[in-house]
């Protein structure tokens, strides 16, 4: 018996069995660790490239997101009311999420029409295989009854999300990212948002 255990063939088979066992067991362990509280950012490598069209769904924070992109060294153009035609020549669509308290009703923009516009440009981006980055920088005031329908439209199709602290207290964006298996980067400061955006671009 001891002789059998000492043979090279047995050692080879044992090693193969060990590798096989680890290959099966480790993914199972990772799956067990994926609680709702776990980080929803499995991969945050460079998945976008310029030039970038920045628009909003909800008419809020477009300029802030455009400035954040530019500070990250990205060639970004803001078109507040972008249409599918605005995507011509663009490498990435970056969408600022959230409803404006001044840019909708007070500006004569209907919420349903704004959602329809957002869905149209997101669909056009998908057709043209232009990746979509959703960005939420407005914190708590850009969530709720006014903003959430706009955010929902974006998280359903975005390829990654960058969300500033305060906007994800209820884990809305975490759940959305986990459900679709897309990266979510939650940041505390605008400086961190610039770094996060920078890291997502080639």
């Amino acid at each position: 018996m001891m002789k059998v255990l000492q043979t090279p063939l047995f050692a080879l088979l044992a090693a193969a069995a060990l590798v096989l066992a680890l290959a099966v067991a480790l993914p199972a362990q990772e799956a067990a660790d994926a609680t709702p509280e776990a980080d929803a950012t499995p991969s945050t490598g460079a998945i976008f490239h310029g030039p970038v069209l920045v628009t909003t769904v909800g008419r809020a924070d477009g300029t802030i997101v455009r400035v954040l992109c530019q500070r990250a060294g990205i060639d970004a153009t803001l078109v507040e009311d972008a249409s599918p035609e605005s995507l011509a020549g663009m490498g990435t669509l970056v969408v600022a999420m959230g409803g404006s308290t001044k840019g909708l009703g007070a500006a004569g923009v209907d919420s349903d029409a704004e959602i329809a516009r957002g869905q149209a440009i997101l669909a056009a981006a998908a057709s043209a295989e232009i990746p979509v980055l959703g960005v939420h920088v407005g914190g708590e005031p850009r969530r709720g009854e006014l903003s959430d329908p706009f955010c929902q439209v974006v998280v359903e199709v975005a390829d990654a999300l960058v969300v500033k602290q305060g906007g994800n207290l209820d884990q809305f964006f975490t759940r959305a990212a986990q459900a679709r298996g897309i990266p979510l980067i939650e940041v505390e400061t605008n400086g961190a948002a610039i770094e996060a955006i920078d890291g997502l671009f080639e």
Partner: protein
């Protein structure tokens, strides 16, 4: 003497008449004192004061004329106009303006500032609001500075009557009372009613002095959706966004949203000054409980400390309702939070600190063909919050 004849008490009658006359005289003095504007001490950076009528002569010697403070560095650079007191029932604005006048020093470019943009509005209160006539802020040495608590509107004694509907200079039809609302009268009319002439004079100042940036400092009810915001004309969006990004990272816990000036909402400074002058126009809002519809009795504590039992009660009701609904997605009704969520207060020190931090950052990031503008001496957000407003107010002029 007839049995039912009234008893004669000539001494008592005379005393009652005298007391009544004294009461009326005291009330008249008190009422009349509302027409005295609180002093603003010209600080080390003020290089001159001129009346607003300098830019629109018909305004001279009218209740709409007001003092314009000039901060001239003597160096070429960007030019800014800061409007404080456009709505005199938004007290953090005039207090921030007073701190600005008494501390700011311009090192490059030139700054103009108005502490009482609608001077007439500071001479009365809004009917049925039971506003204070004035409030005080204590300095570290125990001395006190007083400020007028005014109305959203020009005094009807100075502009009367209101039209049934007000067609403002931009052509939008508003309620008649808005003919006396300075921030619905831009860009003004040179031959219009008093408030429109004030707005016209401000726009003339902007045009003739080639102002690059106008900041209009306001407050709003805590339950109003657009509080803790900056509202910027489209040409001012990049400046406002840059300031917002920097402010939120520089000041721990500081949060402010940027809104765009609606093109369909006319008569407001951020829209009309942006459209009718070359300046970039931005309006600031902070949360003011004394202006809210949920407020209790207006007291100095409510105005200065920002504490109001009615708002605290409303916040508790909101928490209970959220808990009973089990709806974790329900958003706060009181948008001014969190200044101090635990006690539901909106301290004026925080409101003033927010406004001045924004003004400082706008000026610091202003890009003008003439070069940068630099203003020093404005106390920082942390200094005002930690040391109080009184630490940055000059001694009362009368002492």
């Amino acid at each position: 003497m007839e049995p039912n004849a009234p008893t004669q008490h000539p001494g008592l009658s005379a005393a009652l008449l005298a007391a009544g006359a004294a009461w009326i005289a005291a009330a008249a003095v008190l009422f009349g004192s509302a027409h005295t504007l609180a002093p603003v001490v010209a600080g080390p950076g003020v290089t001159g004061t001129v009346p607003l009528s300098t830019w629109h002569a018909p305004l001279a010697e009218t209740p709409g004329d007001t003092v314009v403070y000039r901060f001239d560095s003597g160096q070429e650079g960007g030019r800014a106009l800061i409007l404080f007191g456009t709505h005199p029932n938004e007290p953090a604005s005039v207090v921030a303006g007073t701190v600005f006048m008494e501390n700011a020093v311009c090192r490059a470019g030139r700054v103009y500032a108005l502490a009482h943009a609608n001077a007439s509005g500071f001479t009365h209160g809004d009917p049925q609001e039971a506003y204070l006539q004035r409030f005080e802020i204590e300095r570290p040495d125990g001395s006190r500075r007083w400020f007028n608590f005014g109305s959203r509107y020009t005094n009807p004694i100075h502009q009367w009557p209101d039209p049934t509907l007000h067609v403002n200079p931009a052509g939008q039809i508003l309620a008649g009372v808005d003919a006396r609302n300075l921030n619905r009268c831009f860009p003004g009319r040179p031959d219009g009613v008093l408030t429109e002439q004030v707005a016209w004079a401000i726009c003339e100042l902007v045009r003739r002095e080639e102002i690059d940036l106008v900041v209009d400092v306001h407050e709003a009810a805590p339950e109003y959706p657009a509080v803790n915001v900056m509202i910027a004309h489209e040409r001012a969006q990049t400046l406002a966004a840059t300031a917002q990004i920097l402010l939120e990272d520089m000041i721990p816990g500081f949060a402010i949203n940027l809104e765009q000036s609606p093109q369909a909402l006319r008569g407001l400074s951020h829209r009309e000054i942006g459209d009718h002058t070359a300046a970039q126009a931005i309006l600031l809002e902070s949360a003011n409980p004394s202006q809210g519809r949920l407020k209790g009795r207006t007291t100095e504590t409510q105005v200065v400390d920002g504490s109001d039992p009615a708002y605290q009660w409303a916040y508790q009701v909101q928490l209970q309702r959220t808990a009973s609904n089990g709806d974790s997605n329900e958003r706060p009704l009181l948008r001014g939070l969190p200044y101090d969520t635990a006690s539901v207060t909106y301290p004026m020190a925080v409101r003033v600190a927010r406004h001045l931090a924004c003004v400082q950052e706008f000026i610091a990031n202003l890009e003008s063909p003439r070069g940068p503008a630099t203003v020093e001496g404005i106390p920082s957000y942390q200094e005002i919050v930690e040391q109080g407003i009184g630490a940055f107010l000059a001694p009362p002029p009368e002492s």
